[in-house]
Symmetry: C2
Subunit: 399 residues, 2 copies
């Protein structure tokens, strides 16, 4: 374990940005603003991250190493990379993987469009893997390095929920206490080794409870549920101007049925400028209300927009195509044939990671009965969004 | 913390059954047979359990104390009680709950038909709650006590996955090492207290990884997924004699699509004697193949049997009512009206915790196309069973 910047044994001097303005305690409440203030400009610290990912996951009891286990069809390590990547002041991310997983890792980086990632070969132990990563950074072996990093964050590939706040706390503490190899685990062997063998001080930085390590199979279940919950916090109800009334009714019921879920509504018209913003803001759930019962015009418009965006690269986007019908005037069976087209659309957009389902909602004249069928519809929408069950793609559900 | 049997301070003498035949190491591989051999007869040990359940679950971040959080609509503590209850040699189970939760706890015991349970009021700390439970056992305050227990197992209400093997190891160790208040947590404050203050030896017994404690919200997600997985290990395909051929085809596809899942098939005829056995053996998933496309005769027969049994008291039973139709000869819309009756049946049996869905499978003449639609059907069945999504009750899905 080396101290100071890789290649040097001297603890890093506190830089003008992080150290002069805030102590460790203040950094504890560090926000994006702090990071933004601390980083850009000429005094910015060069920060890199090394992810040891050479483990074989024996404790997991599954044949796939845990960092490659799929969560909503995407490997766990991709979530961890995503968490580090969105912290723009981490300039390089070095992942240490075994030779046999090198190609898998390359395809993950390509498929999920990860940036600023370099790969090195893992060592026989976790510490050797870390060493290989640090060495690559120190010797400038990797491409496109603007400068050697002053601080290197060591982060487990199987801790997907790391927050920018925590990373900033670690960097601040490293800057202040001169510990370059600073592990995000609390009091693990890494910290002990640093204290015992390195001519450096080490400081334990409190992480959030979300920072836990995926160790057992049950932890994969927990990760999946947490991710499903995270991407189900917002639903956008989309419609054409003509359909605003009924769409508004559905929106209101969704709001009352789904506590804690933000429900926005947007018109498809006006070239969908606001809708574009919602897509950019990463809303992964859409309820599209169609004007004609047996027509998919609005849904198709929305699907085109979603396909053009890159929204579904990281998470499956759920689209519920909603159709209203007065079951007393027209029996559902009459519209069934045309509504079954949903299966073809769904098959097509599934290739782009967009999960489409249909929902036919009864629209009786009676106000109370209408509320009841809207409530049923909201429960079904909530199920589809929260459970994100790929087996139901292309189904037409009835409320 | 008292040592020896409650009310006494002398460590329990090794009894003739457990101590003479097996040491702690042998007990490590203890099975149901050991328990059976160790328990009945005149030399049986009197074993009881105390569950402290007075916590308020602050770390959980949810308003409900974690032991009362619902998993598949049933409170967590009921799963723990179920795990202890099925160990027949635990004669009494004492649960310590706060005064304000006393009525909730009583209704849980009644609703889920738990047996051999007594309630005491929790103390202000976990240790006081344990003490109250032990005191009640020692003073014979509880009804129907045949004799004071010689060994008392202290088990957290929020460790639902305890196995009989582990409990037997603990009892064996307690018998040998004379520690009566033996906590199943590994090296927690309980063990420290026992070592420090009690005139007794304490021995750490290795638990299984499943023995972990529900602490954070993510642990509830994990519990739910583990339970869903546990009750999805077996599917029974049910049909009438007339329909054996197509039912067999579906069964074969289910077997190949669902690895690790046991697929059995049973006829509804012959007064369903074998089916009764499957229900008794606690299979929670049924696929019922109906002979006539738009008729629910077989499904209704099965539902009656399930309603008569007590199978759905502890877990929701999923029933998929399967109907075949050649979509080329008869468009699905023609049968839709009669198939929509599924919603009424589903509403009715939901009251008994039976979750019914319909599945219409395309039955083309072409062999390859048939295989494809059967595969689609199997994927949908797998989704319904594994995800156990209550929002889809009464839906008619199409493969």
């Amino acid at each position: 374990m080396e101290s100071g910047p890789p290649g040097s044994s001297r603890p890093t001097e506190p830089g003008p940005c992080l150290s002069s303005q805030q102590g460790a305690d203040q950094a504890a409440s560090a926000s994006l603003q702090n990071a933004a203030a601390a980083q850009p400009g000429r005094h910015s610290l060069a920060v890199a991250a090394v992810l040891p990912a050479g483990g074989c996951g024996e404790r997991m009891g599954v044949p796939t190493p845990k960092q490659f286990c799929p969560i909503l069809e995407r490997p766990l390590i991709s979530y961890t990379l995503q968490a580090l990547e969105r912290v723009y002041w981490i300039k390089d991310i070095v992942v240490a993987v075994t030779g046999e997983n090198m190609e898998v890792m390359k395809s993950i980086i390509q498929k999920y469009q990860h940036k600023r990632i370099s790969l090195v070969e893992a060592g026989v132990t976790r510490h050797r893997s870390i060493f290989n990563g640090l060495k690559a950074l120190a010797e400038d072996q990797l491409n496109c390095k603007p400068s050697k990093p002053e601080i290197v964050i060591i982060h487990d590939a199987v801790r997907p929920f790391v927050e920018e706040d925590t990373l900033l706390k670690v960097v601040t503490a490293a800057k202040k206490h001169g510990c370059s190899d600073y592990d995000l685990e609390f009091g693990t062997e890494c910290l002990q080794l640093a204290l015992k063998y390195c001519c450096t001080k080490a400081k334990l930085v409190e992480g959030s409870p979300d920072l836990w390590k995926v160790t057992y199979k049950r932890d994969l279940y927990a990760v999946e549920s947490i991710i499903k919950e995270k991407i189900s916090q917002e639903i956008c109800v989309v419609t054409e101007e003509d359909n605003k009334y009924v769409s508004h009714l559905l929106e209101e019921v969704l709001k009352s049925e789904l506590n804690h879920v933000k429900v926005a509504s947007e018109a498809l018209c006006h070239a969908g400028r606001d809708l574009q913003q919602i897509i950019l803001d990463q809303c992964y759930n859409f309820v599209c209300v169609n004007v004609m019962t047996s027509d998919f015009q609005e849904t198709q418009k929305l699907l085109s927009m979603l396909e053009e965006s890159n929204l579904s690269i990281l998470y499956p986007v759920v689209v519920v195509s909603v159709h209203f019908l007065d079951f007393k005037l027209v029996p559902p069976s009459e519209k069934m044939e045309s509504l079954m087209l949903i299966r073809e659309f769904a098959k097509e957009v599934k290739k782009r990671n967009i999960w489409l389902c249909g929902l036919l909602i009864s629209y009786p004249q009676d106000e109370q009965k209408l509320q009841e069928s809207l409530r049923q519809g909201a429960i079904i929408i909530a199920s589809l969004i929260k459970e994100r069950n790929s087996g139901l793609i292309g189904q037409l559900l009835i409320a």
